[in-house]
């Protein structure tokens, strides 16, 4: 699992970085023009986002656990100024919360790392379990697992769109990978505890995501809570990997889910950033009737929402099908019920924003802002259709 | 020999106050009143007549003498030679009961004088003594746990050098906690400032405003004895056992002299706490004492 995930992330992270860097070239000058002064200097922005990417790759490739800790903490440090790119009250507050909550979480992860390293010398399962609990809480904070997710909606909604996309698509995966590395080290005696902990945090995250998405009035926060929900699904999938006898389907579903979620979330955050530029607000109640006023963005937004809700052409459909098919019945039932709530909440926002009459008139956007999301959409749909066509008739992998 | 040591202790008590004052004078760059000033003061006061407030009763008349008697009793039960005598079968708590009895008489006398000022002093005295009580009894409990002996000499000198080494952390914590008791009970900086003699901020001496002549001499001598007693308690509690008799007494008096000098240094370098901060500090000291018990119990 660890190796497969590592291989996936080594490919996925640079791809996401490239997509968001490209989008930054189009997005940043527009944002600076429309939002007025106070922006961080653009060379600094590019330096930081490149460092951010480097730190994430360092975290994925780190040879030892303590070194990985250093790298993950480094990702927090370099991405924090990016969140406060606009330097206004909201983004400063989001940055403060992000830095503080993540650093405290990461401090606990360091403690957990120490406990696990010590457990390796004593070999006691109790030390391993204590260590994993702290690691899960620590890196789980960074990964956005409920109840440690509180920084995530603020940071994701306040950051500039490419940064939000990178945070959600790449950073969360890195933190998940850190947890995976620890989980793979656990001895047999500690394994049930670790899996149960992951499973409960995963279900809780899906539930928290679902509850906060209902009646959500801010479309970027909606996407942030969607990230919490998908991280929950990833945690549930991973916990199943350890408990099932035949984990091939779940393992494949896990990898597929991670890749599909990252790409779809990038598409959505980039589109959300475009809408924010056009309307100057993140309120769902203002951004209405996109189908009339901005047809292109409407297509991107609605198809993104459909894809993230795991409607059939989406690759997420396959991975969630894998989850439901192989999980114990009660887990499937709970997750399905929660996913239904998520679906209803997201579709309500998606439809109300794209259909109906416009309330505010948007400032027209340059076409180039839609290039990267459109390419992502094409890729996702093609991959999803190919995947569905390949997997579904066979009735299994 | 035991009795000889008790008499010696009683005679030397004012000397330690002199040491404190000389140290302070040295730090302030003054010549100071000399080591034996308190002896001179007491002799002078003893020759004077005894004024009485108009409305006071017999309670006021006996207050200072009774108070001094209680403190002398405490001196008499203290194991100056490391054990033997009364101290080997009297529970350690009785020592503090005797000191408390002395305080009781002083307070009664102050209330009987009928002055609002002294009443305030008495109220403060009682308030702070209530606050130091938890520290005293936590430390006592710690000592009894450590030595397994409830008698005064056993609890104080039952620590063999080996077990002293094993428990030094807890002992240091208990020492710090009791140091707070020592400084507060003797109205020393940082809890109280003896320089502000008979002023409103004083805790103890506000009660003595109407006392004069031999009674004041008794009060001053009682305070000196109390200083010596608590210092001796602090020293004996911390020191490991190293035999009994003259050697013990001699080491103890030297240690008390050192402690007096340290008190003088503390008073020279620190300012008095704000009055409201004293309860907080005392609570901190109580927690430190509790930490000592905790460390002792757990390891």
């Amino acid at each position: 699992m660890e190796t497969a995930l590592k291989q996936l992330l080594v490919i996925l992270t640079p791809a996401l970085f490239a997509a968001n860097l490209a989008q930054s070239f189009f997005y940043l000058p527009e944002a600076a023009r429309r939002e007025g002064g106070g922006h961080m200097p653009h060379p600094l922005y590019y330096a930081l986002i490149t460092l951010f990417f480097g730190a994430m790759m360092f975290a994925i490739l780190a040879p030892s656990l303590p070194l990985m800790w250093v790298a993950v903490e480094l990702t927090t440090l370099v991405s924090a100024p990016l969140i406060a790119c606009r330097r206004d009250r909201g983004s400063l507050e989001a940055m403060w919360k992000y830095l503080l909550i993540c650093s405290i979480g990461i401090a606990f992860a360091l403690f957990g790392t120490m406990l696990v390293l010590h457990a390796q010398s004593t070999g006691s399962a109790r030390w391993y379990m204590a260590g994993f609990a702290f690691v899960l809480a620590g890196y789980g904070t960074k990964m956005g697992l409920a109840p440690f997710h509180t920084w995530l909606p603020d940071a994701h909604s306040e950051a500039p769109a490419p940064v939000s996309a990178l945070l959600s698509g790449a950073l969360l995966n890195c933190s998940f990978f850190a947890i995976v590395r620890f989980r793979e080290m656990m001895p047999e005696a500690a394994a049930p505890f670790c899996d149960n902990a992951m499973l409960s945090l995963g279900i809780l995250s899906v539930a928290v995501g679902a509850v906060f998405m209902v009646r959500q009035t801010d479309f970027k926060r909606l996407l942030a809570y969607s990230s919490v929900e998908h991280m929950g699904i990833i945690a549930v999938l991973y916990s199943l990997c350890g408990t099932l006898d035949d984990d091939r389907i779940v393992a494949a579903a896990l990898l597929l889910h991670i890749a599909a979620h990252s790409l779809t979330k990038t598409l959505l955050f980039q589109t959300a950033g475009n809408l924010l530029l056009a309307f100057g607000t993140r309120a769902v109640s203002v951004v209405q009737g996109l189908g009339v006023s901005m047809k292109g963005q409407a297509v991107l937004w609605l198809s993104g929402i459909v894809l993230i809700c795991a409607m059939p052409p989406s690759a997420l459909f396959l991975s969630e099908l894998g989850l439901v098919a192989s999980a114990p019945v009660w887990v499937s039932a709970i997750v399905l019920a929660l996913l239904f709530i998520v679906f209803a909440a997201m579709m309500k926002v998606g439809l109300s924003m794209t259909m109906g009459r416009p309330i505010a008139s948007p400032e027209p956007l340059p076409k180039r802002l839609a290039i990267v999301p459109a390419a992502l959409l094409a890729l996702l749909v093609a991959a999803g259709i190919a995947g569905c066509a390949f997997v579904l008739p066979g009735g299994g992998v | 020999m035991n009795i000889l040591c008790i008499i010696l202790a009683a005679v030397m008590a004012p000397l330690f106050i002199g040491i404190v004052n000389q140290t302070k004078a040295f730090f302030a760059g003054r010549r100071g009143p000399g080591m034996f000033r308190l002896y001179v003061d007491i002799c002078k006061l003893l020759r004077k007549s005894c004024p009485r407030p108009r409305h006071s009763t017999w309670l006021f008349d006996i207050a200072q003498s009774a108070s001094l008697a209680a403190v002398i009793a405490a001196t008499a039960v203290f194991p100056w030679t490391g054990g033997g005598g009364l101290s080997s079968f009297i529970p350690a708590a009785v020592f503090f009961y005797l000191l408390a009895a002395g305080r009781f008489f002083t307070v009664i006398g102050a209330l009987d004088a009928g002055s609002a000022f002294e009443g305030m002093g008495a109220s403060r005295e009682v308030q702070f003594s209530a606050l130091v009580e938890p520290i005293i009894f936590t430390v006592l409990g710690f000592l009894v746990l450590l030595t397994g002996d409830i008698s005064l000499s056993g609890a104080l000198s039952g620590i063999a050098p080996e077990s002293w080494k094993a428990n030094v952390i807890a002992l240091v914590l208990a020492f710090i906690a009791f140091l707070a008791v020592f400084l507060l009970e003797n109205c020393r900086v940082p809890f109280d400032d003896p320089e502000t003699h008979l002023e409103l901020t004083m805790i103890h001496e506000a009660m003595l405003l109407d006392v004069g002549g031999p009674d004041l001499a008794f009060a001053l001598y009682g305070a000196a004895l109390k200083f010596e007693l608590l210092a001796a308690f602090l020293v004996m509690m911390f020191m490991p056992c190293f035999g009994q008799g003259w050697k013990h007494a001699a080491v103890m008096f030297i240690a008390i002299a050192l402690l007096s000098a340290v008190t003088g240094v503390v008073e020279s370098v620190m300012a008095r706490f704000r009055f409201l901060k004293t309860p907080h500090t005392l609570m901190g000291a109580a927690l430190v004492a509790a930490l000592a018990v905790l460390i002792h119990v757990c390891f």
């Binding site: 250093v70 406060a84 650093s103 010398s121 | -």
Partner: protein, 233 residues
Amino acid sequence: MLTISEIAMALFLIADLALAGASRLKYAISLVAVQGWIVGTLPVFLWDWQSGGCPGARIWIIALVNSLVKGAALPMLLNYAVRKARTRRELEPIVSFQISRIVVFLMAVGGFAVGRLLHIHETTASELAVPVAFTTMGTGCLLICARKKAITQVLGFLVLENGISLFGAGILLEYGLVVELGILLDVFALVFILGIAIFQINRTFASTDTDRLNRLGDTHLMHPHHKHDHVHD
């Protein structure tokens, strides 16, 4: 057994208690500095001098850099941030100092109980290290949660970090020089960025109280006239 490290641990405990009751920012920062010096020099004291001979360069470098950063550089940085942001000198408690101290004491009780439960003393250099580390971590969390100012949250984070390093030193964990310095660099950079953030927050919000930092949430778009939209000062 009496060693310098045990005395250092006792000092650490007292510093925890004092931090919980500290009402002055400067005093609290110096207490954190004291803890930093102790944690920094601890590897040298915990070294087994009798059988190990003179410790290698790794121990010396780590001790030196650690104590310089944690004992001198970080406190200086914090003091600078306090001055620059013109923060008021008092710590404003949400949980009173007295209760904080009792909580810290109870955490010490818990720490010692856990230490006994895990039979830590068989595997660690100092019996006191692990309980004291737990207590210190708890104190750090308490400072983060129970004080109002942004800078106390940084302070609390440092205390938490000190507790974790103490734990690492106490169980004689060896990462290697690179990792230790990496961790240290991260912490240093974090405090540095947080210091800058405090300055910016102070300039933007006209205050560094964290209760001003509550505009973001899941309801503010529903209530356009949010109560904190205007600055009270």
